[in-house]
Symmetry: C2
Subunit: 247 residues, 2 copies
């Protein structure tokens, strides 16, 4: 391979979102994108924009965020992961890297995403889970949550579950699966879909938790209202994970 | 109950050890004991020493540490948990409390302890587990670890697995069970026994990890040597949990 040939590198990334102001570079803030762009520059000597599958908000975690960047470096594609990790802080790690066609775009090429919201359901908070799960003190009714979860699946207008939706954004989204599981005190809400509106997974999870708590919410009516206020609250960022991006 | 009657309160405590200098009060250091004694004083107006089942070192976690303290407060025994939690920081919580006979002593009355060492076994470190698991990069041979684990069970001289052992300490300890389990990338070593020497669980775990990595260590010879240097290294505090104290 010629040294100056432009290549496209795809990264798969895990991060603990707790101490980041989210993915996207912002002046004066510690961001995941900022850390990775800094590592790329230190490794290759080139400043390159690193594009993710989507921004994650402050405090949101990733088990498998993806991103791409262009480079003229001759480092083999699969070696970027370990090499970049040498320049990254403890709370972000590149799990794998590979060379992909220049046509690949982490966001535009994505076919779907898997998000997970994790709840610790116990009468007292848990110091050991506080950075990575949202604690709910009232006992959740899992069967009710499961039944309601089915009503989110399909191509629907999710305006009632989007925060700060810009008028021009199409509020119609396709959710392919919402699964509620419980293992001991840990309740997990897995949400799969093509793409999501701003804070949509946290609004869906917040609505399911209200139902689990025993609140009588009619999901069909909430969808019909197309008003954010009709649904449950957004749950905090600490329990949210971007698990996987599907291409 | 008369208001000034002296009572004994038993606490069961969870904490994230990461940001503590261990259990025991030390001048100028943030300790779990210091936080709880501060909370007791704020709640009852009395300064009382809070005695644990045993000290945990800096960085070691607890899922079920126990402690006791005396008080003349008239707060019902089971109410102390929630009341103290109002005065405690996020990384320590009282799971439960109850009034016990004055003869109960968290350390002296203990019949046994359950410790757990948790390892994340993957080629790259995990930002999301880094505070609570120790990462081992080489693939561990679980069957070899299990076979070796059996050799720790029984009443034995554990001098080879004790750090800074004082001459006067009896190095003979009874270990009742050592269990190695694996679930995905998480390898767990559960150690049960009557009582333990200083850093003994971390030395047992470190020896088992060396064996899992493929190092040929003869546990019988290590016991016979009665020298700390013959065994594997102490694993770091971040993976160690005091799970339960048995009375």
């Amino acid at each position: 391979m010629a040294k100056n040939e432009l290549r496209n590198i795809k990264l798969t990334i895990e991060y603990d979102g707790t101490d980041f102001f989210g993915w996207q570079v912002q002046p004066g803030c510690r961001t995941v994108q900022g850390e990775i762009e800094g590592a790329v520059e230190k490794l290759t000597g080139e400043f390159r924009r690193v594009f993710a599958s989507g921004r994650t908000d402050a405090g949101v975690h990733a088990l498998g965020q993806t991103a791409h960047f262009h480079t003229t470096s001759s480092i083999p594609g699969n070696r970027f992961a370990m090499a970049l990790n040498a320049f990254l802080p403890d709370d972000v790690v590149i799990l794998s890297s590979k060379a992909v066609p220049l046509s690949f775009h982490a966001r535009k090429s994505a076919k779907g995403k898997h998000y997970r919201y994790v709840i610790y359901n116990r009468r007292v908070s848990s110091p050991l889970r506080r950075r990575q799960m949202h604690c709910v003190y009232e006992k959740l009714d899992i069967l009710k949550m499961r039944k309601a979860a089915e009503l989110f699946v399909g191509k629907k207008n999710f305006a009632s579950f989007a925060s700060n939706a810009r008028r021009k954004d199409d509020p119609v989204r396709s959710v392919t699966d919402v699964r509620v599981t419980k293992k001991g005190p840990v309740v997990t809400i897995d949400v799969m879909g093509r793409s999501f509106l701003y804070k949509m997974v946290r609004a869906i999870s917040g609505t399911l938790v209200e139902i689990g708590r025993g609140k009588e919410l009619d999901i069909v009516s909430i969808f019909r209202a197309q008003r954010r206020v009709s649904a449950g609250p957004n749950l905090p960022a600490c329990g949210l994970y971007l698990v996987r991006v599907i291409y």
